[in-house]
Amino acid sequence: MEKILRGLAHKISLSLGYDSEKEAVIAYGLFAMMQIGITIVLAFLFGLIVGAPVEAMIVCFSVSIFRKYSGGAHAHDAMFCTVISVVYCTFAAWLSKQLIPIYHPYAMFIAIRLVYGLVFWITYRYAPVDSPNKPIKSEQKIKRMRKGSFIILSTYMALQLFFYGASSHWPAFLSYGISLLLGIGWQAFTLTPLGAILLGKRNVVA
């Protein structure tokens, strides 16, 4: 897919008279749009199949928004990345539905405290995690990414507490809350050395 998009970027650049650097930017943007689009559409479709499309989207977006600031381990190729993203979003969405029959508010409250405690610690210890293809070296950017990670996490925690409170009146929020917890838990896991082993190489910059 990367080759096809590079070819398209080359065609566009020739037509518009752009230089090679502009062509590289167009190819990068095209690849980003394609990968994000395919992952979201597939996660939604597989979410539909397991009867949890909203939950699949909650996992998908909670991971990607947190990832924008925290970084994380990367897969070696785009195909493996798409497969692992879609499989996890679908599995977490399905699991959040399966856990409803055994849901207990007290157990959920303990799970929220444990997961957020762990995720805040992992973020403090490892974020931001860069990659050889997009290194983060400046102290200023590291600080900005760390600050962004904590802002996102705090927003998620507020949303999580809203889901927790709302679930006593609207049962749909039970699975929304569980899927959000599974989303941030997974993303925090990809920041750790164990997550790196699962997905591939990574560099820790903080």
Binding site: Y28, G29, A32, K68, S70, G72, H74, C81, S131, K134
Partner: protein
């Protein structure tokens, strides 16, 4: 056709710039970032 190419170029440049300000690609694969977008 040039208008369509212009539109695609503008949109992809916008997305590339948005991704450049983040720690990484939003999912688990990171292609090599063009030098002009690097903010290390």
């Amino acid at each position: 056709m040039k208008k369509v190419y212009g539109l695609v170029a503008a949109l992809s440049t916008l997305v590339a710039a948005m991704i450049a300000s983040s720690a990484c690609f939003l999912f688990f694969y990171q292609p090599e970032e063009p030098a002009s977008l690097r903010d290390e």
